[in-house]
């Protein structure tokens, strides 16, 4: 086991600038998920760590040792590919034993290690079968077995369960989590599925267009996104992003959305926003559906809105509220709003409202205004 360091990684494919000045430190035993949309460079980053892709500049360390110039075989890592990459002409046993054969271990040793790993993955009955006779989930277990059998310093996984159906993905997620807890192998896991990222990761590293956007625990990334990209990429349904008009209103700050009713915020907000937002930049408000509180009765602080569309999702509903000229998604208990067109009341949960500089996309850090 080992820590992994990525310092100033840059990668071009021809003129395509795929990884841009990427810095990331992964601690020993940590499970880090690289999360981002398709084509953002996740796979390339992972392959660079494995040595399957050469980088143009930067430093990659495993266990504090620079490895960027070593061939993959000398980095002591294991890689799980999205399509499993199990050899069709070998049995499950031989597939798992394959990495051990490279190091010339004795037959008895190989037998013992394969059996051990198979036991922990609960695939002993499948060892004699060929990949063509295995189901998707079992293929994945065998692939993971092949990766773990050598006890590598780090385990790299590229969308390892992306090809499975939804139910199986959920099972495998739990299983991966269990394996990580049991083995504690430093892991880097690539996915574009934020649910997967949130449920597996110790820390999530969100990427876009080759740029690392934010690294943090799942809740940090979810609760305190550093920019509009992270705010909208993480979380489902997506965070509401709406232009807003801010003005001081007596002891309070009025935040008017879509030219409609103004929501009341603490009085010092206006000054802080004024200090944080560069002159001439637009401001947008970001609020997750669960931070939009809906009530059927009027009460102080609530503003009248109209339910526009109701999307029942079983455990809860997502209701599109018409706020002024804008639609904002709110999350309500199921059946709370009974029909579209109903007039209801809403407020925004102040601590969960984010303000972004629409021009740069960055979140506005609201330092207490001085002086």
């Amino acid at each position: 086991m080992a820590n992994i360091g990525l310092r100033g990684i840059e990668k071009y494919f021809g003129a395509n600038y795929v990884i841009r000045q990427l810095n990331l430190e992964i601690a020993d035993g940590e499970f880090v998920v690289l999360l981002g949309p398709s084509g953002c460079g996740k796979t390339t980053t992972l392959r660079a760590i494995a040595g399957l892709e050469e980088i143009d500049s930067g430093l990659i360390t495993i266990d504090e040792r620079p490895v960027q110039d070593l061939p993959p075989g000398e980095r002591d890592i294991a890689f799980v590919f999205q399509l499993f990459a199990l050899y069709p002409h070998l049995t499950a046993f031989e597939n798992i034993a394959f990495p051990l054969r490279a190091t010339g271990e004795t037959r008895a040793e190989i037998e013992r290690k394969v059996k051990d790993v198979a036991a922990s993955l609960r695939i002993e009955p499948l060892l004699a079968k060929r990949p063509s006779a295995l189901s998707g989930g079992d293929l994945q277990r065998v692939a993971i077995g092949r990766a773990l059998v050598r006890r590598p310093k780090a385990l790299l996984m590229d969308e390892p369960i992306g090809a499975l159906d939804a139910k199986l993905r959920e099972d495998m997620r739990a299983e991966l989590k269990r394996l990580h807890i049991e083995n504690g192998t430093t892991s880097v896991y690539v996915t574009h599925d934020q649910v997967e990222a949130m449920s597996l990761a110790d820390r999530v590293a969100v990427m876009n267009d080759g740029v690392l956007q934010q690294v943090g625990t799942p809740s940090e990334v979810y609760l305190h996104p550093v920019n509009l990209f992270v705010a909208q990429f993480v979380g489902s349904p997506v965070m509401n992003i709406v232009p807003a008009e801010i003005r001081p209103d007596g002891a309070e700050t009025a935040v008017a959305i879509g030219g409609g009713p103004a929501f009341a915020f603490p009085g010092e907000l206006a000054a802080r926003l004024g200090a944080a937002l560069p002159a001439g930049h637009e401001l947008v408000v970001g609020v997750r559906p669960e931070a939009v509180r809906v009530a059927r009765e009027a009460a102080p602080g609530l503003r009248p809105v109209e339910a526009h569309f109701i999307e029942p999702l079983g455990a809860y509903d997502i209701v599109d509220l018409k706020v002024g000229e804008r639609l904002i998604k709110a999350r309500t208990p199921s059946g709370f709003v009974r029909r579209p067109g109903e007039a209801v009341w809403a407020r925004l949960d102040v601590p969960q409202v984010h303000f972004f500089d629409a021009t740069s996309g960055d979140v506005l850090k609201l330092e207490p205004a001085h002086g």
Partner: protein, 318 residues
Amino acid sequence: MAMVASPGKRIRNRLAIAAVLVVTLIFLAPIYWIGSTAFKPRDQATSVPPTVFFTPETTAFVKLFTKRVQLRQPVEPETYAAAPWWEQRIFDGGERVLRVKGEVQLSAYPSRFMNSLIVAITSTVLAVGMGTLTAYGFSRFRVPAENDWLFFILSTRMLPPVVVAIPMFLMYRAIGLTDSHLGLIILYTAFNLSFSVWLMKGFMDEIPKEYEEAALVDGYTRMQAFWKIVLPEAVTGIAATAVFCFIIAWNEYAFALIMTNRRAQTAPPFIPAQVGSGLTDWTTIAAGTFLFLLPVAIFTFALRHHLLRGVTFGAIRK
């Protein structure tokens, strides 16, 4: 599923089977003709209408393999009785086997047949081997101007052999490669290589590069990964390519006719050369032709499982 087919479907099925039978018969007819002629007595070989029922005999094959001379007078009964069965067949035809110092003199056929085997097998092994490696390179590495190279390789096949045969012959004569095994092997290898590269490139592209990358990560070298992973995965393609290359090399006529005349002559130019020298013995020619058909048939039959997968590769894989 046990389903009762509708009458329309049944009729269509029957028609399809009948069509397959007819086509098969049409294709097998010439092969049957050659095969049966090889086993017919000589006087029935060219009878019109063709004899259908006859007592098969092996005389034609004995003649095919031996040098013979006309008997001036009938053999002594005791010589006949002492002779082995195959020699008796020759005596029956009014000939005797030519012997030099007691050694039976073989005809040219076995050596021509051997030439064909040597040239076809060696050039197939070379073309498929080099083609596999080249295709692997094109498939896995970034080759500058890859498509231009591939087109160039294909273009070497664009001129019909007869067009290049004469200039090739002149070049071969200048460097002393005419009528040599090496000359034909080089020619057939070059000829088949483009085909082999293109075919193998398709098969290599079908093998996920993750297979080797997984092996590389596990500590194998690229060469080891190639031997342990790529080759076993490519057997199907290699078998299919080998069959095609072998058929082309085995049947090649134009180059063999021009480039060879004796020592390295292969069967295709040799067999027809027997026709028309005096009274043509069609049974012997049929026997030679019949044997000539066997290697390709055996080779193809031996690799049939790979072939069925190979020619439909990609369509039915998984």
